[in-house]
Amino acid sequence: MTKYHKIATTSELSTHGDHVIQEVRGQEIAVFNIDGEYHAIANYCIHQAGPLCERGELTGYVGEDQDGEWTWENEGQTVTCPWHGWKFDVPTGTNVNDQRYRVPTYDVAVEDGEVFIER
């Protein structure tokens, strides 16, 4: 049975990079403001169960283009686990190195200045 759970107010998440972490039905969930959109992801790294979003800094990661030049990818929507440095794309929950590794993400709804996640 999915339900909506209030997790924050829009004023707590007013600018890009703001985030809150709340426990919802036994699972710690982080909600980030990424360029004005809200994205919810489990505060749980599937590698060794580390607190994925505890550091909470949104960055990017280094990629490589066709010519072998290094490129900066996914700026502002990559979260890095503070335990071992595994990096995940927040909107999709996918590991930036290996698509087989994925952290749960949750739908977010906003109503009357309050942010809810669906779980």
Partner: protein, 372 residues
């Protein structure tokens, strides 16, 4: 395992009586350490350093370190140090009962060229760690030695060994030259033995590109060099090829490694996958896990199998871990360490199905080398 009776098995980690971390680390800052240097002339020299990582320690990295590590990654950083409270919290976080601590910065104590400075820093570290451990019985530590002046290191061991907090003698391998078995280190070995403490060797994440070949120039015998030069060259070359993205650039190319056996392959595969996931920004040229390229494009030949008479089945299990599709028989005739086909066959025949055995013994090689 399967023949164990249920009552002989441990089913959950909670059933363990004790969990000991045999290698924990403090993250001493340079400034903190220098305060513990007793000789004021040496201390003033050290305080004057503009760049401790190059004019005291000489730990040259080929690119900036990956800093996305547990606890903020600031072990070498100027602004971040790890307090005793942080360490206690780790034990709580991970349900560890005891932790035997080592240094972080001083894993490269042998990269300190100046032997007086090295000895002073080792002495300072041992004082620092004693303060750090004061009244914290769940932590122990290894006595740090600066091997450049072995007699002084031996005195340091004798002076410190009575402290309950010290449970071992550390010889750190970063930049250690000549290698650890050299005669000149005998005073250190003897002091550890006399004090009934184990001698603990810890490798360092730095030093390979500068010190490693030089460090091993002190090998004493042909066979000592032979024993490590093959696997080390393989491990270094495998790592270099993968982390520079060569198989990604050449997806139809096969890579075949000869003459170091296959025992190191599972170990390196686990290690490279782990590094890839933990430091993605250092290896942007890879699109997949290193193990995935290894499975698709890398081959390792079995000779020398090594002396596996203790349990012949170990070779089969190592091949299973390495991935049987990547393993090919080799003989190395007429060299003195050659393996006849039967030596391998007898060890794998009862472990794998016939197609796998045929592949290892020759059919994979037929494909890879285009033999018809």
């Amino acid at each position: 395992m399967s023949d164990l009776e249920p009552e002989d098995r441990i089913n959950s980690i909670e059933q363990l009586d004790v969990v000991v971390d045999t290698d924990g680390h403090v993250a001493e800052s340079y400034e903190e350490l220098v305060k513990y240097v007793e000789n004021s002339a040496v201390r003033k020299q050290l305080e004057r350093s503009e760049s401790p990582l190059s004019d005291v320690y000489t730990t040259v990295h080929p690119s900036p370190r990956n800093r996305d590590m547990y606890g903020g990654g600031g072990a070498y950083g100027e602004s971040f140090t790890y307090s005793p409270d942080n360490k206690v919290q780790e034990l709580e976080d991970f349900d560890i009962d005891y932790s035997v601590l080592n240094s972080t910065r001083n894993l490269n104590i042998s990269s300190v060229n100046n032997d007086r400075l090295a000895s002073a820093l080792a002495h300072a570290y041992n004082s620092y760690i004693l303060d750090f451990l004061d009244d914290r019985d769940r932590f122990k530590a290894n006595i740090l030695t600066a091997p450049k002046i072995p007699d002084r290191a031996a005195e340091e061991i004798d002076d410190r060994a009575d402290e309950d907090a010290f449970v071992g003698v550390a010889m750190y391998l970063g930049g250690l030259s000549p290698p650890a078995g050299d005669r000149r280190y005998e005073p250190i070995v003897e002091a550890a033995a006399d004090n009934g403490l184990p001698l603990v060797f810890h490798s360092a994440g730095a030093g390979l590109n500068q010190a490693f070949p030089r460090a091993y120039s002190g090998a004493q015998t042909y066979i000592e060099e032979h024993a490590i030069s093959h696997p080390f060259q393989h491990m270094a070359s495998l790592t270099s090829l993968l982390f520079n993205g060569v198989p990604e650039k050449h997806p139809s190319l096969d890579f075949v490694f000869l003459e170091a056996g296959i025992g190191y392959v599972p170990y390196m595969t686990w290690r490279l996958d782990d590094h890839y996931l933990e430091a993605p920004d250092q290896v942007p040229g890879l699109r997949r896990l290193p193990s995935s390229y290894i499975e698709d494009q890398f081959y390792f030949t079995t000779q020398p199998l090594g002396h596996t008479a203790n349990d012949p089945n170990h070779i089969a299990r190592a091949i299973e871990m390495a991935g049987p599709g990547s393993i090919m028989y080799s003989a190395d005739l007429p060299h003195a360490d050659f393996d006849p086909p039967r030596e391998l066959f007898d060890r794998i025949n009862s472990h794998f199905d016939s197609d796998t055995v045929r592949g290892i013994m020759g059919e994979t090689a037929v494909d890879i080398f285009g033999l018809t």
